[in-house]
Symmetry: D2
Subunit: 366 residues, 4 copies
């Protein structure tokens, strides 16, 4: 196996899937640690796993290449959520990727004599990293998702930045809602988990929060608006995760094209307007949540992960993903996290906190 | 005429049309000046002109009512862009409003013995203020539009805040665009004038800026994207004002309902993707531009206008609107500004600045 | 004992010590939960414990009193870090407060028939809360310190906001430092613990971070600056916690008056300039770190604490403090946290992360 | 004369004096215009005029060198406010600089065959540019000062960014001041002019604003604090420009060393505390006002100036400075602006606006 050979000399890293604020901070921290602490040669792979298929798209990374990266959004390595690994089969509950593509990556890693490959990506990318590891590639995972829905780690970088953008949006919508006696609907990211919607909703003072973990009814949402009106408050704010689903319905976020024709945010707005007669407007935050300079917490977490990835390679913890658990850095086996989505537990105090404040989660409990 | 009678004792103000950051700062400054400097009784009218039709919706405003208002978005008086004056006829180039509604307002003002009525609003609201003035109501106008497109004044409050939000959005989209080799389209406000798009596009480093004042072609837009690609830059940022119109086409922003089905931003995204083959995404900023705490410049301008409105009443400059001209506060006759939209002059150095930087305005000049 | 009597009907809360962003969010969440979920009467105590000595300074708090408080900095109840409890004796390692003042508070609580008293404060205030509890007052503590240095809880609200301000300051100083080849010293809060300095230093890309937990030498600091210069980097950023202390020296932050004459930040600046010959400037952030709207995370944490405090009263968990442990809300006995300061553990990965990046902690390890 | 020769082929630019947000945006716009529109070779001079004395410190600047500069604070060319031109004599009201240094610069410009030299700097730097021009160097000035106090132009870039930082600081201090019944003193930049203090004070809702243009008395300041207390408001905010001076006193800002021992901000705090008995705290913003990403308005203005400077060279408007007058770009003779400081006119509506709101300017008018 590649992963069992001699001293570490050359390492590489790649960023996979949608971009997230903090990727560049991870790259910077990894390169600094790899160079200053371990003296390895470091290579950056461009365009995610695609850069390791066919003619390699790699470039050496030294200290001068990562100067100034800490506060920068995006990834200097480029990324893609398309390509050879974008489709897969599910066999016995596990994702099985295109064997030819896997072989191609293994072959490239072998040829380039890479002793450690860091994969920055979400649950799908970590599943690929696992497959590669089981085919002999010495991978180390770094969790990445602004949705904060990855298994094995308590927190992912990018989440706080997305939360900042979403909460700022609610703050802004409040003035207009209150001035015009309107209902404002804000659709935020979160296909499989409602972390952003729940945190931003509580932090921004929303009246209704709809998340994928709790099926909602339009009736309950409209009732809340009308209840507020009955108490003399003419405006309301609804925060809805893109993956929120009406009870008995199915998630509506599938494609970009359909999205343009209106996601769940718009459905909620239309139904609320129809049922309450109140003027209702929708704002879809979309890509604004992904971009920009990471918040201080995200920069720190990304930096810790970057350093930890280098140390994991030094300790030959291949097939593992770095993670934050109870405030401590640790590693978890890729096997335990690949393809796993971590939703908001329904017994989370965050949800009971929301309910105690009178926020409706769109279900029968109001 | 109401406007010629004795000493000023009671004044009122109302906010009309869409909300803008800074309205509360105007209210605060007006009330402070009216109370501290002139000792008048001040009344706030709720829900714009509607609050003066039928049973008056007014409340006294004293210093304690305006404490803390300076940094707050929205308007504590409420506003509406619907109601008795939302439709009008054009007679000899001038708007003619519902005479019954006008009479109702005049009657209320007379009964309440209001010696000065401040109207915070856009060109439409100033046209109503003019009509009222000509019917004997002692009105003073305060210009209000985040679009910065009002005649008679060099600048309106709310514009800098909208500019801030739009530029921040471009900054955020840059990271994603560059990381994913995408074209990002940002649709900003500006039905009749491209001030926000032009300033934000220059300030955010856009590659294409489309404004109502310059008809564009999809071909020119696509050409710019492809030209950048030919020079090795795989991503581009397009900023489009909601009122931008393809040459030979018509503006597409009419209704909220249609807007949901996609405004000009989406059309541009679809055409660019079709013509260039590049992955393209659109973000519609919408109501985010209206809300939130005003920027320092907007707070200062709003405060100056609020003080100036009180002084204009004291000097009986009725039928006038306060304005900023070359950095100086002044007043202009409502007759000269009512219903007038101030677009970006096509010979503005802002446009030639954009072109000098290589920004395409979507026309044949690239 | 007061704490063992019948059903809960009347509760009160007070804010003690320096203000922190999020206090108002706690008040809002507590009042909402107490009113909506439990139907209690709620009273706000003004000016901390002082409001319970002599003639009570209290006022009822209902839903309308807490509207709009979520994003507001400061505390509507007022606070003080002076008064009857500002001095104490240490007896057998525990603080002993003025018995007359304690009795006065007990007496007031008894007279007002308060069935639960929430104390928002730092370690000193929790020590008072403990003393009161042991004298029969049914207290529940809510941890409050922007320094994040309270025992028993993983995180306190206000910390993220202070971190934001400090990191933003470093970002700003970077441009000037780099443009002018200067050393910039930023003094941040943290008398007993270096959390703000460490997080902000890592998040802002500092070159030297000095914290109370690690005694530093001016020599090591100057060496780092000169080492950077030798490698061609002419500027450096130093972040120093106000409680950082030279090896063998003593902390210099004691009084406001002395502070004006220059705290540790200025000493560092002077020594660095003297030893390296480089132009050095110092900025003391001071009160800027305490104020302003709390960040989204701080608003959420404060809200969770506010709800948890109400639930703790309902469950009669008196003599306890609400806390966050491993992402879960819980309570800890006041006895375990009163007067306890939680510094950065010297084996924390945050410190090894900083060192791996080449950041000097000012000690012999560089 | 150098300035009269043939076609323009090579141009250079330098940044002089303290850095200001927007310098990099000017550099970017100038390089883009010079390359794309005119096809000139462009050189950047390092460390201001010093880079043209002795061995030239210059480097070619092409489009790739200015990518990403728009939102970046500072100056990639470096700057200094020390060196050969830091001292001068005043002869007949004009500054006379070291002839040897002037000759050295002329010589370098001649040898490098530079056909146009852009000088980004304040009034002092423009005086040097004028001297150089009169010695045959084809200079074009670009105004630069965050203080907004340059003659000949209505606005300078960097001012809005400084204003943003200062107003944000006041917003933050408000929460603490109100929570603790304190007086907070904020010292902002402005040695010769009170633009920042006046705008930030109005925009942040200060109670007292002290500027160099209006000598103040400690008595008037203390009276205002006491008057507020008499009306039941226990806290106050004072904004003081570093150049504000007590009536009959002299400005106290001279040296950095003295500054550390306390500038005017501290004097005000001490006198207010002494005279009113109220707890008073001071924050000196200092270098925070200079750094960070420029605001959108500053980016746009800097960009317009950069383009205009290139166009001024193309039109051979040497010995001129680009300027903004009534919203229009223009040029003014260096002779009219060199060494001129533009203070706030005492009859400015900004000052009467402040007074109308009840803000004290620290003079006998309260």
């Amino acid at each position: 196996m590649m992963t069992s050979s001699g001293p570490i000399r050359r390492v590489a890293l790649l960023t996979s899937g949608g971009d997230a604020p903090g990727l560049n901070a991870v790259i910077r921290a990894f390169v600094k640690t790899a160079r200053l602490e371990f003296g390895w040669d470091v290579y950056g792979v461009e365009d995610g796993f695609e850069g390791l298929i066919g003619k390699p798209k790699i470039r050496p990374l030294d200290l001068s290449d990562v100067r100034g990266l800490l506060p920068m959004g995006g990834t200097i390595l480029g990324s893609t959520n398309k390509g050879h690994f974008s489709s897969f089969e599910i066999v016995e509950g596990r994702r099985v990727h295109d064997p030819a593509a896997l072989n191609a990556v293994c072959e490239t890693v072998r040829k380039l004599r890479i002793d450690g490959l860091v994969v920055l990506g979400g649950e799908g990318s970590q599943a690929i990293a696992l497959d590669l590891y089981e085919n002999g590639v010495p991978t180390v995972g770094v969790p990445k998702t602004i949705d904060n829905d990855l298994g094995g780690t308590d927190m992912t970088f990018g989440f706080h930045t997305a939360l900042w953008v979403a909460t700022d949006a609610i703050d802004r919508l409040h003035s207009t809602a209150a001035s015009h006696d309107r209902v404002m609907v804000l659709e935020v990211m979160g296909r499989h988990a409602g972390w952003i919607a729940l945190y931003a909703g509580i932090g921004g003072g929303a009246d209704v929060i709809l998340i994928p973990e709790i099926p909602f009814t339009f009736e309950a949402v409209a009732d809340k608006i009308l209840e507020r009106e009955a108490h003399g408050t003419e405006f309301s704010i609804i925060v809805v995760a893109e993956g929120a689903t009406p009870a008995g319905g199915t998630a509506v976020y599938q494609s970009e094209h359909e999205k343009r024709l209106g996601g769940i945010g718009q459905s909620v707005a239309e139904e609320v307007q129809r049922r309450t007669g109140k003027e209702t407007r929708v704002v879809v935050l979309g890509h604004l949540q992904r971009g920009g300079s990471p918040t201080p917490s995200d920069r720190v977490l990304a930096t810790r992960f970057g350093v930890a990835a280098a140390k994991a390679i030094a300790e030959r913890k291949f097939g593992q993903m770095v993670a934050l658990r109870c405030g401590q850095l640790t590693t978890v086996p890729l096997r335990e996290v690949a393809g796993i989505v971590r939703g908001v537990p329904v017994d989370s105090d965050l949800i009971s906190t929301a309910r105690a404040l009178g926020i409706s989660m769109g279900d029968e409990r109001g």
